[in-house]
Symmetry: C2
Subunit: 302 residues, 2 copies
């Protein structure tokens, strides 16, 4: 089954666009899981990441369709961290979750093939359903990812309009009558539309990252890329609300997945949950947070 | 010692701007090192990468100042590959080589800290002297790398004008009177100049990647970023020549390092060396290639 069909089916089954970001920041992980482990002991840290992430998956898998492990944090724990990431991906896929690897990789064509093979290829140690990709090096740097995605029924999400305050430095510049992010979006749409047509589906395997923190641009980009799944970061801790992302969806409530990382995985430390959960009850906090976010999007997916 | 001072000293000591790219593509590695290992056996592949890279370092370390391991290829061999990368970095630094990790990483600020810690931080498993960074997410996504570099006497190289044919898709667009790559370059220069002033040096710890395949832009960018080291890919196999990169240097022959990957590390397979080296003589081929490239830049470093 194609990536787009798999994602659609998973979102429909779980009836929610909620995407949970797996960002294991060591100092934010519940203390009871970190006892006796120093931040400088990378093997110990990686073990904590593994335990935390696997237990997290058990809690969220019944409720959501997809997860987004953030490679940066696993990489910060060195080769042990990357081995833990492999276990997390394997377990998530066994649980039926769609796994979107957030690596924002990119390089010139012949090297991009290496990244594509590493995360989406048939011999991948970290085989994800999709990978995020940065567009600064242009079309020929993204094509190898598209090709490997096509060969492996995987997907890619290109950074278009990111959620951070400084994203506009390059993305918002006007060139030849449109912004840089619109240039990127038009390339995504062209590629996604070709995919969608070839596969006889509404959406292609090439999607776009568009931040919840820029609601107007999100609505505009939904229109501009009718064949692209939107991966929307910036909900929750970064300030994005349900209202901000409402225009990211199509009439069936599909076409967008809304990421929340800290607000769910570190829910035990949320200020609005103060006094509700002890450190040891972190899994209850996670489940509460994921169900609350699901409730906010109740009725979206039809 | 700061990154810039360390790089200057190393280039002066070896009297050459040659930078050797360590890109272990499995199928290009001499066959005698691959005997009995299948491409799908990632543990075996990582072992081949380790052996090949360590022997390579022994050959090149007496002749050059710096190396640039390409993370994509090590990542393609999974966690085993990333463990091999750690060994390669450790050994290179023991040999006194300046290690520039080519990862082209980037993310929003709080996540960029994870990448910076992973490759430049005090607990890094892959502690490099510098890391390449992509600018698409803007200033606040690059600052965490700058900060960690500053704290660890490390450096970063921002992608400005890349060597691939399609790099112009976004980089060459004109916005507010200058191209996107010039916008990026101006940010690099501003940051590099502040660094250089604070450290009392000619160059700062923030450099730029500028391809040898665009000689006019390379000359222009040398003028535009007087305080930035230039990392110049695209020499050799990609078509760049000594004449193309001649304007990348300052009057002392410093300020630029010229990368060659395939042309050196896979010299045994070079067409112009046909019949000269057997597969088993690959180390002689590497040494010949590195000395020939050095000879082309004879007299540059004063």
């Amino acid at each position: 089954m194609t990536f787009s069909a798999r994602l659609s089916a998973a979102v429909r089954e779980k009836k929610t666009p909620v995407l949970v970001g797996i960002d294991p920041r060591f100092n934010s992980i519940p203390e009871c899981l970190r006892t006796g482990v120093c931040a400088s002991d990378l093997k110990g840290v990686a073990g904590v990441f593994r335990t935390f992430s696997l237990r997290l998956l058990d809690v969220i898998a019944p409720h959501v369709a997809c997860i987004k492990p953030q490679l940066a944090f696993f990489e910060a724990a060195g080769p042990y961290g990357m081995a833990a990431l492999a276990d997390v991906i394997d377990y998530a896929r066994k649980l039926g979750l769609v796994v979107i690897l957030d690596g924002k990789r990119n390089d010139i064509g012949s090297t991009a093939e290496g990244y594509a093979a590493a995360y989406l290829g048939e011999n991948s140690a970290w085989k994800g359903d999709a990978l995020t990709v940065s567009p600064y090096l242009g079309e020929d740097s993204v094509q190898p990812f598209v090709k490997v995605a096509e060969q492996n029924d995987a997907g890619i999400f290109i950074l278009v309009k990111t959620s951070n305050p400084g994203g506009g430095m390059l993305q918002d510049l006007q060139a030849e009558g449109k912004t840089i992010y619109q240039h990127t979006a038009d390339w995504v749409e062209k590629t996604a539309a070709a995919f969608a047509e070839a596969q006889g589906e509404k959406y292609g395997a090439v999607g776009a990252v568009v931040g919840a923190t820029y609601p107007e641009q999100l609505a505009e980009l939904r229109q501009r890329m009718p064949h692209a799944w939107l991966l929307v970061p910036g909900f929750g801790a970064q300030g994005g609300t349900v209202k901000d992302v409402a225009h990211a969806f199509d009439e069936d409530g599909l076409g967008a997945i809304i990421n929340n990382s800290r607000g769910i995985i570190f829910a035990h430390a949320r200020k609005d949950y103060a006094g509700k959960f002890t450190d040891a009850q972190w899994e209850s906090a996670v489940e509460t947070a994921v169900l609350e976010m699901k409730a906010q999007f109740e009725g979206f997916v039809r």
